[in-house]
């Protein structure tokens, strides 16, 4: 029987302190107040004083409430029975069905030994030219969608998830609007994917700090499945809520902020999650697609900035389109040399010319006379936006490459493209 403590010394923010002994760092405790029972986690030990973050928040917790230490860190079931189920951020069933406690694994486990990783090699086809042609998504990639409120990022996330060929989908929602939760659930259901999915859902109306557990829970389950040879896709939306919850705790703990109030270890904390993406040597894989909303559409804000330094590229979703600039798949070169010989050159050339188009557009808006070259670029830019960038376009990669050559040939002479002569000879439409 574990000891129960009845004297809470301090309550500040969502952190409480008690005097207790024999408590392990990061162990869990249950805090029982008149509002019910919440999980809490040890975040500091100092002599006999234990600080805990209370996942349901400290509101209503009183000094005389009960704290019971569980003697272990957070765990989650990794059993196949999870499939088709929906849980809260702290792992309680959200679907009214019984809890699952078999095959418990500790969350936030150790790193994979880099020598047990292999080079990613399988392209995930999405039917979206801005992804398939220009920034191919690769199995085991970690990649966020950078966007702002109001953009259809959750729709895009769901669309990619539905088109991707994976065995299992693990969904982690943080600060999710209830509508968005239903949208994901219904989409999974309609496409018949719910039975191979697990959802951990923290909604906007749930206590803020509870979302801190979501990525670790989702990824721990994903890891267990991947070790069992499954190709797992993890969806995390919105990681900005996760980062903000961390900031809240850091401020309560009086940590010195590094940048705009965010803790100095934001990078390490985010990396610990994203780095769970893996292609195992002789087992399955984990691919992570996330959403990061950028406060004020500012990519230099600490959340997108640190994320960009961690992930293997990002898709910028702006004005309902995936922006060619700034969007990047760093793993694309692992796969785009095995698709079609002209893949890379189409990718490079079309983007370069689109950049030139943007410049011309600027000149035009300033009222400058357009040269014949400018006119060509203007025509090109229009076609590129309509036939490549528009998110309604849903075509296989090969068709998109053909369309690329067609657009180039309609707009330019051969030498104006800067493409190597041998490729021109082979692919330039006659």
């Amino acid at each position: 029987m574990r000891k129960v403590y009845h004297r809470i010394l301090q309550i500040a923010g969502n952190v409480i302190t008690v005097e207790a002994d024999n408590v392990g760092y990061n162990d869990l405790a249950e805090v029982t107040s008149s509002r019910g029972t919440s999980l809490a986690q040890v975040i500091r030990l100092q002599d006999a004083i234990v600080s805990l973050q209370v996942f349901a928040g400290s509101r209503g917790v009183s000094t005389g409430d009960e704290v019971r230490f569980l003697g272990h860190p957070m765990r989650v079931s990794s059993s196949p029975n999870l499939l088709g189920r929906v849980f809260t951020g702290s792992g309680e069933p959200r679907d009214g069905r019984p809890s699952i406690v078999d095959d418990l694994v500790e969350i936030a486990g150790p790193s994979v030994n880099p020598s047990k990783r292999i080079i990613p090699r399988n392209m995930i086809r999405t039917g979206i030219p801005m992804i398939d042609v220009f920034n191919s998504l690769v199995e085991s990639q970690k990649l966020p969608i950078f966007s702002v409120a109001g953009e259809p990022y959750n729709q895009l996330l769901a669309r990619i998830a539905m088109q991707a060929e994976v065995d299992i989908i693990i969904f982690g929602g943080m600060g999710l609007k209830y509508d968005d939760y239903l949208f994901f659930k219904n989409t999974l259901d309609e496409q018949g994917a719910l039975s191979r999915s697990v959802m951990f859902v923290h909604t906007a109306s749930d206590p803020v700090v509870e979302c801190l557990l979501v990525p670790d829970m989702a990824l721990a389950v994903a890891e267990a499945y991947a070790l069992d040879d499954k190709r797992v896709l993890v969806l995390l939306t919105d990681m900005s809520n996760f980062a903000d919850a961390m900031k809240e705790i850091a401020i309560t703990m009086e940590q010195i902020p590094s940048n705009r109030g965010y803790p100095g270890d934001l990078y390490s904390k985010l990396a610990a999650r994203y780095e769970k993406a893996v292609d195992f040597d002789s087992a399955g894989s984990i691919t992570i697609l996330a959403v990061t909303t950028m406060p004020g559409d500012d990519v230099t804000h600490p959340i997108p900035d640190n994320t960009g330094y961690i992930t293997e590229g990002q898709f910028y979703l702006r004005n309902g389109r995936i922006e060619p600039f700034g969007s990047l798949s760093r793993l694309k070169q692992q796969v785009n040399d095995k698709t079609r010989e002209d893949h890379r050159i189409i990718m490079d050339t079309m983007i370069r010319l689109y950049a030139d188009f943007k410049e011309t557009l600027e000149k035009q808006s300033m009222g400058f006379q357009m040269s014949s070259w400018d006119d060509k670029l203007l025509a090109y830019g229009k076609k590129f936006e309509a036939q490549m960038m528009d998110l309604s376009v849903n075509i296989p990669l090969e068709e998109a490459l053909d369309a690329g050559w067609k657009i180039l040939a309609e707009c330019f002479d051969r030498t104006e493209t800067g493409i190597k002569t041998d490729l021109l000879d082979k692919f330039w439409p006659k």
Binding site: N22, P263, I351
Partner: protein
């Protein structure tokens, strides 16, 4: 290793805050000594980083989950050290020099907490040839003999920690020995004796200085990257940094250098970055041929890999581990290139530690002593004259990942103060896919180029003018620009496309030898300096685009091949066309 060094000096945990443990000790402690936290079967390594009264702060190199107040600490009295000896090459280590492949064999997919292995193979035998004789007088760093390690002659040296002059008492005969065998016995004037083994240990945070003197780095370290060797060169024994926003191409550039730079030994420190990027090296280097030696790239490499999800304190140690290994091979008269990606992650590890210690923070919460640590790290680079008169070098190139891509931040600024070359990557250039995205106007180097300074001057001037004209055209439009100016702009674009930009992923274009660069640059210069007769701006643009096309084809052709020669003729004819 410290395991057998238990001198009863123990302590107990009194606090845990992230990876910082506060402990009370019984007898004495040494700043920066290694301590082990004992939890059941596990012994977790840590380093003492602050002593206050009867309490010490220890940064642990492991996850601290489950640690309790009262858990036992063992102090070792030894500073954090690495093992030096034959067999380091081709190894893949974590930041504390644990061999990752061997760990994987023993503990599988995950890095098990508190599981450590020796850095070197103590069973393997090496073919030792003595070079010292009984009665010889030697100093620290002098060789007593050597063993072949791959294509290199690995010197077995008098331990660096020995002071003064030593006489050889005995040297082992030529033959096979394990690294722990004694290959020589030496004695000093006062009658002290010491054993020389093939393996010695050295504390990572202290530079190895068993050489005669430091020299001024003058010779280029050829990287085969045109924009670097020609415009912003790196010297053998020099330092350079590559700051840039995320995705601007720091890592790709470092990988290119690790493959193509003409150094003897390359040490790659993957410090707090993505594991996936290291995997590419781990999996590819054993198969990529090193054209200079006929062996694989792995045979000249050591990889230190403490990626972002691995323990933060070990990340801090990893850059020191890496530079110590580089210094070790420098002592053998070899040229070592250390590539650290990213030094900002190291600085962040310092920041996390400093924050937990509640030190008074400097800018952006980095510790106030950050600059001196950065300077101290780059100071470990250098060209040195060894005791035997030969030279060896350590060249250090570090990437910097500034928050928000803004170079006005402590790590970039602290680094710029101490390095010899600055390769600043630009977001605009990487967005426009102009790789390598080194900014041709903002970057600089204090070292000497492979091309004469006058020629570089012409090219730089043209880039500056071209940029000015481009800016002006944005205001007055093309129509308001004189055709001569327009031509200058076109020429600067031409220089950018055919010379500054380079396709890293192409076998031929990805690496341009010194000879080829010199030859190519002259040809490019011929274009830049020619006064072409063009009728209009359209004519100018078209002509320059055609020239560009030819040069690009030329870049992709193998040097001195028939195709190469034919293209050169075509280019000459094209240049003559408008003269």
């Amino acid at each position: 290793m410290g395991d057998d060094m238990l001198d009863n000096n123990a302590g107990r945990i009194v606090g845990v805050n992230g990876n910082i443990i506060t402990a009370e000790f019984d007898t004495h402690v040494t700043q920066n000594e290694v301590a082990y936290i004992v939890v059941g079967e596990e012994r977790l390594k840590g380093e003492v980083i602050r002593v206050r009264g009867k309490r010490v702060d220890i940064q642990t190199f492991e996850d601290t989950v489950g640690l309790k107040v009262g858990d036992k600490i063992e102090f070792t009295d030894e500073l954090l050290s690495v093992e030096l000896g034959p067999g380091l090459l081709t190894m893949v280590y974590d930041g504390l020099q644990n061999p990752l492949n061997e760990l994987a064999e023993k503990s599988g997919f995950f890095l098990k907490r508190g599981f450590y292995l020796p850095a070197l193979n103590y069973e393997r035998k090496w073919e030792f040839t003595p070079s010292a004789a009984k009665g010889d007088s030697l100093k620290a760093g002098d060789a007593v003999g050597c063993v072949p390690e791959g294509i290199f002659t690995h010197r077995i040296m008098v331990p660096f920690s020995l002071k003064g002059s030593w006489k050889v008492v005995e040297v082992a005969a030529a033959g096979e020995y394990k690294i722990d065998d004694i290959v020589a016995k030496i004695a000093d004037e006062k009658g002290g004796t010491a054993d020389v083994k093939m393996v010695q240990t050295w504390p990572v945070k202290i530079p190895i200085t068993a050489y005669k003197e430091k020299l001024l780095p003058e010779d280029q370290l050829i990287t085969q990257q045109r924009i670097i060797d020609t415009f912003f060169p790196v010297a053998t024994g020099g330092t350079f940094c590559v700051p840039g926003p995320f995705g601007a191409g720091k890592t790709v550039l470092q990988h290119a250098l690790s493959q193509h730079a003409e150094a003897d030994i390359v040490i790659i420190a993957a410090c707090g970055e993505r594991a996936g990027e290291v995997v590419e090296i781990l999996r590819e280097f054993p198969h990529l041929p090193d054209p200079r030696t006929g062996k694989t790239l792995m045979d000249r490499s050591i990889i230190i890999c403490n990626t972002s999800s691995m323990p933060v304190a070990a990340r801090e140690a990893s850059v020191y581990t890496a530079v110590t290994l580089a210094e070790y091979y420098r002592q053998m008269g070899l040229n070592c290139l250390l590539l650290a990606d990213s030094t900002s992650r190291w600085a962040q590890a310092l920041r996390e530690m400093s924050g937990r210690l509640e030190e008074i923070p400097g800018e952006e919460a980095f510790p106030a002593y950050l600059e001196s640590l950065i300077a101290g790290f780059y100071e470990r680079a250098g060209l040195v004259k060894l005791n035997d008169g030969t030279t060896g070098s350590v060249t250090i190139g570090g990437t910097v990942s500034p928050a928000g891509g803004n170079f006005e931040e402590p790590v970039t600024q602290g680094t710029l103060k101490v390095v010899g070359a600055f390769h600043g990557l630009s977001r605009d250039r990487s967005n426009a896919r102009r790789f390598p995205a080194i900014h041709p106007l903002d970057s600089w180097s204090h070292y000497r180029s492979i091309v004469e300074p006058e020629k570089i001057g012409v090219a730089r001037q043209l880039l500056i003018r071209g940029n000015e004209i481009n800016q002006m055209m944005k205001v007055v439009g093309e129509e308001g620009t004189h055709t001569d100016d327009y031509m200058i702009y076109q020429k600067s674009e031409f220089l950018d496309y055919v010379y500054l930009q380079q396709n890293t992923f192409d076998d031929i274009d990805g690496a341009t030898s010194k000879e080829r660069q010199i030859r190519m640059f002259d040809k490019v210069l011929a274009v830049l300096e020619s006064k072409f007769k063009v009728e209009s701006k359209d004519d100018a643009r078209k002509y320059m685009q055609e020239l560009r096309q030819m040069f690009i084809d030329w870049n992709y052709s193998k040097m001195d091949s028939d195709e190469f020669n034919a293209l050169e003729k075509k280019i000459d004819a094209k240049i003559a066309e408008k003269l």
